[in-house]
């Protein structure tokens, strides 16, 4: 008999279009001191399981079948007061975003002490002492002082430590953590995961970690359950499931994970999950619209050159200049990108990589430095007309598929907008033909043109964005974290598409990401950024095998060790 037993549960959500079954036939168990991972892509139902166990399912959802036992006794059918007593005292929960999890108007002390005194027979000062000790254990420096502070006075990582302390302060036997590190910086993630593993072993707590991140699973879980469309498709010891999966879904999922240790030619097709999109026809580039009559001149030398680029933002405006506060988001950045190459820019959030991209694309005006592109100096251009010439040659793809398309425009108009603006077609018919062709080319099919963005999934929307970006036949494509918001399997498809397009059209690309394994797959050369400055620029393989700068080494150390993952079906790219 395990500590927590989830037996064959089914969770239904009645909606206006019928009953939606979020979770079906799920059986899981956790023992003391053990960490169970629950992995799946969005919509798999993993968060629903967590909410159901602790009884916080959003109405009208309800558990319609099955049973949940804690220490042998049934807990899913208890009256409200009984469940309330279990929450925090016997089962604790950690949510994803530490900022919104804490009451902004109460001190940490208040929140901790209240939780402790609600469940344990301690008085106020005893509870406070316990709270201080716990804060020290989770790694908050000067806990005696900081306990009196408010949540907004802590940084992101510190806040999550406070959340962990809150979940543990009444000494529960089970902890459920729902995406505990997703909202945190990469460098903090590892620390928090280590902390959780230590606490789990120390207190012999049974932990369920719900996540979409394979790296987290590989890092700290003992056993893992793989979820797909509300069902558990496979379950077992982590090493076995990740290294030698049996179920085709698990196999596809694993093969889609970008590897830090090798560079692949392409990601293998993950057909089990989504149809690979419509088959893309072979192109005769010289005669096809995309390759023909591209109105830019051939040139020698690097396509893009950045010289001492500098960007300063005013964070606090004031009447007197000395009272103003500034942020130097980009400092003294110089590099160039050769024609036909894929250049990667990697760094943590706040490193300035997105700011650099936006300066190149013309969304921000640099406070200092020069940008040379396609033979002209972008920073010297004044009128919109002059800039238009270069805009045709440079386009951008963004990160969030849900905000990068105007929800009120049809796909046809979205993709046609750049064509119409730059007068690239002779008439309406030609514009239409070009758009339909582009949509087919990115794997969506021409019929997509009449639909609206909300009718498409995240991956499909990114394809629309790519089609829009290609509509001006650019020679340079900036990709700002194009797959960070997508599920792993969809990411693989989109990255494949980008790779194919790059080779076919001879595009020069700048690829921005915080995810090193992805960079390794996509880029020829890489620049590493930190706090607005460029630390190192090197060939990709050089950087991964032999990093020069301290910070690069640090970032590489932080990469999740995915050696346990199976290498089945991967085509490694030969070294050049």
């Amino acid at each position: 008999m395990a500590l927590l037993d989830i037996k064959n549960i089914r969770v239904d959500f009645p909606t206006r279009r019928g009953v939606f079954t979020a979770v079906e036939n799920v059986t899981l168990s956790v023992n003391p001191g053990e960490i169970l991972g629950c992995v799946g892509e969005s919509g798999a139902g993993k968060s629903t399981i967590g909410n159901t166990v602790i009884g916080l399912l959003e109405p009208p959802g309800r558990m319609s079948e099955g049973e949940i036992d804690l220490d042998g006794k049934r807990i899913d059918n208890l009256p409200y007061e009984a469940i309330r007593k279990i929450r925090g005292r016997r089962i604790g929960m950690i949510f994803q975003d530490p900022l919104t999890s804490l009451n902004p108007l109460q001190t940490i002390e208040r929140q901790l002490v209240e939780t402790i005194t609600t469940h344990l027979p301690l008085n106020e000062s005893e509870a406070r002492q316990k709270a201080v000790d716990l804060l020290a254990r989770v790694g908050i420096p000067e806990p005696d002082i900081r306990i009196g502070q408010y949540p907004h006075q802590f940084s992101g990582g510190m806040r999550q430590r406070v959340v962990i302390a809150l979940a543990l302060c009444a000494d529960p036997e089970v902890i459920i953590a729902d995406e505990p590190t997703t909202a945190l910086d990469v460098s903090i993630q590892a620390q928090i995961l280590d902390l959780m593993r230590e606490l789990c072993r120390e207190r012999q707590v049974g932990m369920i970690i719900i996540t979409h991140d394979m790296g987290v699973i590989a890092d700290i879980t003992d056993r893992v359950a793989v979820m797909y469309h509300g069902k558990v498709v496979e379950e077992g010891p982590t090493k076995k499931i990740l290294g030698n999966p049996d179920h085709p879904y698990t196999q596809s999922l694993i093969s889609a994970v970008p590897r830090p240790d090798v560079r692949l030619k392409r990601f293998p097709l993950v057909e089990y999950i989504e149809s690979a999109g419509q088959a893309r026809k072979e192109l005769d580039i010289a005669n096809h619209w995309l390759g023909k009559a591209r109105d830019f001149e051939a040139m020698d030398g690097p396509l893009l050159t950045l010289e001492k680029l500098h960007m300063r933002f005013v964070t606090r405006n004031a009447i007197l200049p000395r009272d103003r506060r500034y942020l130097d988001a980009v400092k003294d950045v110089s590099f160039d990108i050769k024609q036909g190459e894929v250049f990667g820019l990697v760094g943590e959030s706040g490193s300035g990589k997105s700011t650099v991209a936006r300066m190149i694309a013309g969304l921000y005006k640099p406070t200092g430095g020069n940008i040379f592109f396609a033979g002209g100096e972008l920073t010297a251009l004044r009128t919109e007309r002059e800039k238009d010439r270069y805009r045709r040659q440079m386009q951008m793809i963004f990160q969030d598929p849900y905000s990068s398309l105007n929800p009120r425009m049809r796909v046809l108009d979205i993709v046609a907008e750049p064509i119409r603006f730059h007068n690239l077609a002779d008439d309406r018919k030609e514009t239409e033909t070009i758009v339909l062709d582009l949509l087919e080319h990115v794997g969506l099919g021409a019929a997509a043109a009449v639909k609206y963005p909300h009718e498409f999934s995240g991956g499909q929307r990114q394809r629309i964005s790519i089609a829009r970006a290609l509509a001006t036949r650019p020679r340079f494509l900036i990709c700002d974290e194009p797959t960070s918001a997508l599920d792993v399997s969809i990411q693989a498809q989109i990255l494949n598409l980008l790779k194919d397009l790059q080779q076919e059209l001879g595009l020069t690309m700048m690829f921005i990401s915080h995810d090193l394994p992805v960079i390794r797959q996509m880029c020829d050369r890489v620049g590493v950024m930190r706090h607005g400055q460029l630390c190192e620029v090197a060939e990709t393989e050089e950087l991964f095998e032999n990093p020069q700068h301290e910070y690069s080494k640090h970032l590489l150390d932080l990469m999740p060790k995915l050696d346990v993952l199976s290498h089945e079906g991967l085509e490694v790219e030969e070294a050049q």
């Binding site: 602790i54 916080l56 409200y80 309330r84 007593k85 279990i86 929450r87 925090g88 005292r89 604790g92 929960m93 949510f95 975003d97 919104t100 999890s101 804490l102 009451n103 902004p104 108007l105 109460q106 209240e114 939780t115 609600t118 469940h119 408010y150 907004h152 006075q153 959340v163 809150l166 979940a167 009444a170 964070t315 606090r316 506060r325």
Partner: protein
């Protein structure tokens, strides 16, 4: 903290000066003050003399400063209609309006806030639904109509309550109060309910909306996940966090009670500043209008200042991070 208060104070003063400017502009330029003060057979020379002696030919800013200085001392000249000093009229009428507004505001708050909390916590109860339906009705009936209906029921059909005037009042120095007599209190009932109803429903709906919003947040979910007592979640967590925006809007609403008093006083013939103002508008009695504007402006600016400071005191995020208070 100090800089925040001084900043707000500075803004308040600027607003007061602007209000004063508008009042002065009205006073000086709408109609001809001389014409309103003298009879028809005054000669042109005499009018010129009067103009000079009143300083009406002086430069604009001089006149404005004089007006402002007088206003500060409570001097607004003579009412065209009543032919008495405006300040006298104001002092006479002020207690009536203030007493009525206080009782109205008190009712609105004492009933509105608990009703809002109750309907938020018991979303689907029958009583809740009744209150919500009633509130929708309350927001749909204009104040004057509420007054008329109340008069019809309690004054005409069942003759139980007085429907005009203040009843008997007692002098306390320059103040006159209706609180100390039975007839005074009875006269207060219908007008104060009329005044309070609109505000009550607004406050109730606001408190309810805010609480429902807060109850949906992540930190409430986390508090529930920690097994915190329901009572504590509802009051220490949800209610306290709803109060921040509620304070602002409630403050503004209560200020507007003084404006709504105009309507109530008209319906019930309540001898307050509001009735004075309406008569002034109908008779184009500019000095009274200007004076009312300045006094009301002051009241609102004061209320806003208090609300801003309260906001600052209640929300720790504002205290620590002054950069955030851009004013919008």
């Amino acid at each position: 903290m100090i800089s925040f208060v001084t900043g707000r104070l500075a803004q308040s003063i600027i607003v007061m000066l602007t209000v004063g400017l508008i009042a002065f502009a009205m006073f000086r330029f709408v109609g001809d003050p001389i014409n309103n003060m003298v009879g028809q057979d005054t000669t042109v020379e005499q009018r010129e003399q009067l103009r000079e002696s009143l300083g009406l030919n002086d430069p604009f800013y001089e006149q404005y400063l004089r007006f402002a200085w007088n206003a500060l001392r409570g001097e607004f000249g003579q009412s065209y209609f009543h032919r008495r000093p405006v300040s006298e009229l104001l002092v006479e009428r002020l207690p009536a309006t203030l007493e009525l507004s206080l009782v109205g505001a008190g009712l609105a708050l004492l009933l509105g806030v608990p009703a809002g909390v109750y309907t938020a916590l018991n979303r689907n109860g029958i009583f809740s639904n009744l209150i919500m339906s009633g509130s929708l009705l309350g927001v749909s009936i204009p104040t004057f109509l509420i007054g008329i209906i109340l008069i019809l029921i309690f004054g005409v059909i069942w003759r139980v309550l007085p429907t005009f005037g203040r009843g008997e009042v007692i002098d306390l120095g320059w103040w006159t109060t209706g609180f100390l007599t039975v007839s005074g209190l009875k006269s207060l009932i219908l007008p104060s309910i009329t005044l309070a109803l609109f505000q009550l429903t607004l406050i109730m709906r606001l408190v309810r909306a805010e609480m429902l919003e807060v109850l949906r947040t992540d930190f409430i979910k986390f508090a529930k996940a920690r097994g915190i007592l329901t009572r504590s979640i509802h009051f220490s967590h949800a209610l306290k966090n709803s109060l921040v925006p509620v304070i602002t809007i409630t403050g503004l609403q209560l200020g507007s009670i003084i404006a709504f008093a105009i309507i109530t006083e008209t319906v019930f013939q309540w001898p307050g500043m509001g009735l004075l103002f309406i008569q002034a508008v109908l008779e184009v009695d500019i000095p009274v209008m200007a004076a009312y504007l300045v006094v009301i402006g002051f009241v609102f600016v004061f209320i806003n200042l208090v609300v801003d400071i309260l906001y600052f005191v209640v929300d720790p995020r504002l205290r620590a991070d002054r950069a955030a208070s851009g004013g919008h």
